[in-house]
């Protein structure tokens, strides 16, 4: 019986098939392609779960998989590159596959209620877009080399563009789609340079070594580690020192990550992306596509660990973005906008975790965030259906009694987001902050200071997170209804409530995957995620692939010199850090309750005055980027165009105009008057005779 790993490509192929079916045959199907999508993602989910079970060792024999499938560019000369497609399955991959296929399935079911039942048109295109997106995201997750990952990264960005701009006949969506595409593309440009750099430096883009019949093909994190230990003569470093060059490569790839995961400064596209349908926002801009950037860093973590500078920058960007976006979320009036800024902020936490060496924390937060953010978006979708697509929270209110399923699941998600025990967000966010704290205290020099600074920003963001989350909950569901639609909302059906219920339970329970504080206190080995990414202590997949947690921790200690320091002793620091973050979150929640948990809340943010204008305008980042495009890029483009048309085209035109000019002068010889022709002939004859006289009659 073939193992699960033989079917891993099918995990991406099934949604791709659904894409093709929806595109060509969707108009003939009763649900316009949704059936194909639901079946395909259900199949992918089953296969992903089977793969995860195989990786866990419960079924099948092998626990990891790394094979190259297809050589699409064969390098012939010595030292020439060969470009391949391949599949890598390790615990991280298996986890992400399950997350992506589960959320995709739930979003497909939800779309039946949000799109089909609302009588939207053009649905085959919608389900085709969802299918293509799911296929590319899954293929990105199991890519085994960075170039293949880049290709699917771009494809995912394309699907995002297509889906944001779904209602392209209005003004907002196409513009938002264009903005999303351009901003992420800007980051991806640096990513591409980074990919080329990695391929040029190491000769391979593999994330983990591949065993072939003719030996082992090393991966680039391995080669990089080797170069740092033994000396970098074997690889190309463009004249820089080895570690400097690797920092540069890491930062180039980070460009794409920052764009895709909507970190500062390339975060401006995500709030505008809310113009797309809410299920799209739930799938793409909450749980999966924006996770691609963070997943990429986690995938090549062995490479990033070799460069403390890159890690510091990642941590700083993460902490800053977490705080920055959380402040903006506090003043927003539309439901989805609050959630968009919340997404930006939470991905900041994941970057903070990765930067400060908390690999498990980052992966854990990625998992929990996928669940509760998708839940919150789907809940928002349910509210939007009820409110006849009016998103303004100030027109809502009192929906609690009228939409109980939505309310309780939304509340579950909000508690998870705010980080209140025992919901999922508490355990993961707390672990992120804890890792940042101890590595900040333990590491010496600038790096430690950076970590502590980022930790402080992340901690402050916890307060704001609690505040904006519960402001959102109170304004939407509590109090008196503030408009007619809120008094009489449209009911939603099982296809909306079902996914909400599933995710609601998930948001409450998925935190139990890795309850580190409880594990430490009681000595029980219930930190399952930790064990999942750590693998067996000896042999197995960590040794074969070098992507295990133990390997990362060794690198962290030996190469980056990041150590954990417990200012108050190990257990006490843990408990104090948990208490502080929980306390801040509760403070935010209670403040929101006092301000907005009344029957008739008012816009208290008006009291902020000038600060509110700044926040409402998103710190003028959008205007700044537009200025960059119009004020800086357009003149440069114009100058380049002038050069192209004047010099390059001018040379070509000049050649032709020279010949035209010569021709126009020459043709006057043909005057039509016979006597002129005779004169020319006579002169030529005389000249010829003179030439013969001079040359002595020729040979």
């Amino acid at each position: 019986m073939a193992g699960a790993f033989d079917f891993v490509p099918a995990i991406a192929a099934l949604p791709f098939l659904a894409f093709v079916v929806s595109l060509f045959a969707g108009q003939y199907m009763p649900k316009r392609g949704a059936e194909a999508g639901i079946l395909a993602t259900a199949g992918s989910l089953v296969l992903s779960i089977w793969t995860a079970l195989t990786v866990a060792g419960i079924t099948g024999s092998a626990t990891f998989y790394n094979e190259n499938f297809y050589e699409w560019v064969v390098g012939v000369a010595d030292g020439a590159l060969t470009l391949r497609f391949g599949v890598l399955v390790d615990p991280l991959t298996a986890l992400m596959l399950v997350i992506v296929s589960l959320i995709s399935l739930l979003v497909h079911v939800f779309s039946l209620g949000y799109m089909n039942d609302e009588g939207e048109t053009g649905l085959p295109r919608y389900y085709a877009g969802l299918g293509l997106f799911t296929a590319s995201m899954l293929a990105f997750v199991f890519s085994n080399n960075i170039l293949m990952a880049f290709m699917f990264f771009e494809l995912v960005g394309l699907c995002s563009y297509l889906l944001i701009g779904f209602w392209f006949r209005e003004d907002g969506p196409p513009s938002a789609a264009k903005k999303a595409f351009l901003v992420t593309r800007f980051g991806d440009y640096f990513f591409l340079i980074g990919v080329v750099g990695i391929l040029a430096t190491f000769g391979t883009g593999l994330f983990a070594p591949v065993e072939t019949a003719s030996g082992t093909m090393a991966s680039f994190p391995q080669l990089a580690e080797q170069a740092l230990e033994e000396g970098a003569e074997a690889i190309y470093t463009a004249g820089y020192g080895a570690q400097t060059w690797m920092t540069i490569l890491g930062l180039l790839v980070l460009g794409g990550v920052v764009g895709k995961s909507a970190q500062f400064p390339l975060h401006t596209w995500l709030p505008d992306a809310m113009e797309g349908p809410t299920p799209v926002s739930a799938l793409i801009h909450a749980a999966t596509m924006v996770a691609a950037g963070v997943y990429l860093v986690a995938r090549m973590y062995g490479f990033y660990l070799l460069s403390p500078t890159a890690l510091a920058i990642i941590a700083l960007i993460g902490g800053f973005t977490a705080l920055f976006a959380a402040t903006m979320g506090v003043v927003k009036q539309e439901l989805k906008q609050v959630l968009a800024y919340s997404t930006i902020s939470q991905y900041g936490y994941m970057m903070l975790a990765l930067g400060s060496g908390g690999y498990v924390a980052a992966v854990f937060h990625l998992t929990t965030h996928a669940v509760f953010k998708a839940l919150l978006f789907l809940g928002a979708g349910s509210v939007i259906i009820a409110m006849h697509h009016n998103e303004n929270m100030w027109d809502m209110g009192g929906l609690k009694e009228k939409m109980p399923v939505t309310y309780w699941t939304f509340l579950s998600g909000s508690l998870a987001l705010a980080g209140i025990v025992p919901f999922a967000g508490f355990w993961s966010k707390d672990e992120v902050l804890f890792e940042a704290l101890i590595h900040g205290f333990g590491t010496s020099g600038m790096l430690g200071t950076v970590y502590l600074l980022a930790y402080a920003m992340g901690l402050l963001a916890v307060f704001f997170t609690g505040l904006y989350t519960f402001r959102m909950v109170y304004l939407t569901f509590h109090g008196d209804a503030r408009s007619e639609t809120a008094r009489d909302p449209e009911p939603v059906r099982w296809n909306v409530k079902g996914p909400l219920a599933v995710l609601g339970i998930g948001a409450a329970t998925v935190g139990f995957l890795n309850m580190k504080p409880v594990a430490e206190l009681t000595g029980l080995h219930i930190d399952f995620l930790h064990k999942w990414v750590n693998g067996p202590e000896e042999g197995g997949w960590p040794e074969a692939l070098s992507t295990g947690l133990h390997h990362y921790e060794t690198l962290l200690h030996d190469v980056t010199h990041v150590t954990a320091g417990y200012p108050l002793g190990e257990t006490t620091t843990l408990l104090v850090s948990a208490a502080v973050s929980l306390g801040l979150a509760l403070a935010g929640v209670l403040l929101a309750r006092r301000l907005y948990g009344v029957d008739e809340p008012v816009e208290h943010t008006d009291k902020l005055g000038g600060a509110k204008t700044l926040l409402m305008h998103n710190y003028y980042q959008d205007e700044y980027q537009v200025w960059l495009a119009q004020g800086v890029t357009v003149p440069i483009a114009r100058a380049a165009d002038k050069f192209d048309q004047g010099v390059v085209d001018g040379v070509v035109n000049g050649v032709s105009s020279v010949s035209l000019f010569t021709g126009s002068r020459f043709r006057r010889i043909q005057s039509g008057v016979v006597s002129n022709y005779a004169a020319l002939m006579t002169l030529s004859l005389a000249l010829l005779l003179v030439v013969f006289v001079v040359l002595g009659g020729g040979a």
Binding site: G672, S675, A678
Partner: protein, 101 residues
Amino acid sequence: MAIATQYYLLLSAAVFCIGVYGVLTRSNALIFLMSVELMLNAANINLVAFSFHYGNLTGQVFSLFVMALAAAEVAVGIGIILVLYRNFDDVDVTKAATMRW
């Protein structure tokens, strides 16, 4: 005492160049034809001179043929001038300048 051949050649060159002068400067098509005749006859003089120089009659026979050809050419030339007159209403060669760029 025979006249040196150069003088015959000089005569032939002079007649030829008078013919060329006529072709170059005159605008009447009939005068043009007459000049062409002059050129042909200059060639004849040349041929006969060389026939005497080498003592071979080929030159003279050839010049007879040239004369016959000149006659044929003039016949056709007159026909052409007739058609030219029909189309341009004038025998001025400088007026018939439409076959140009």
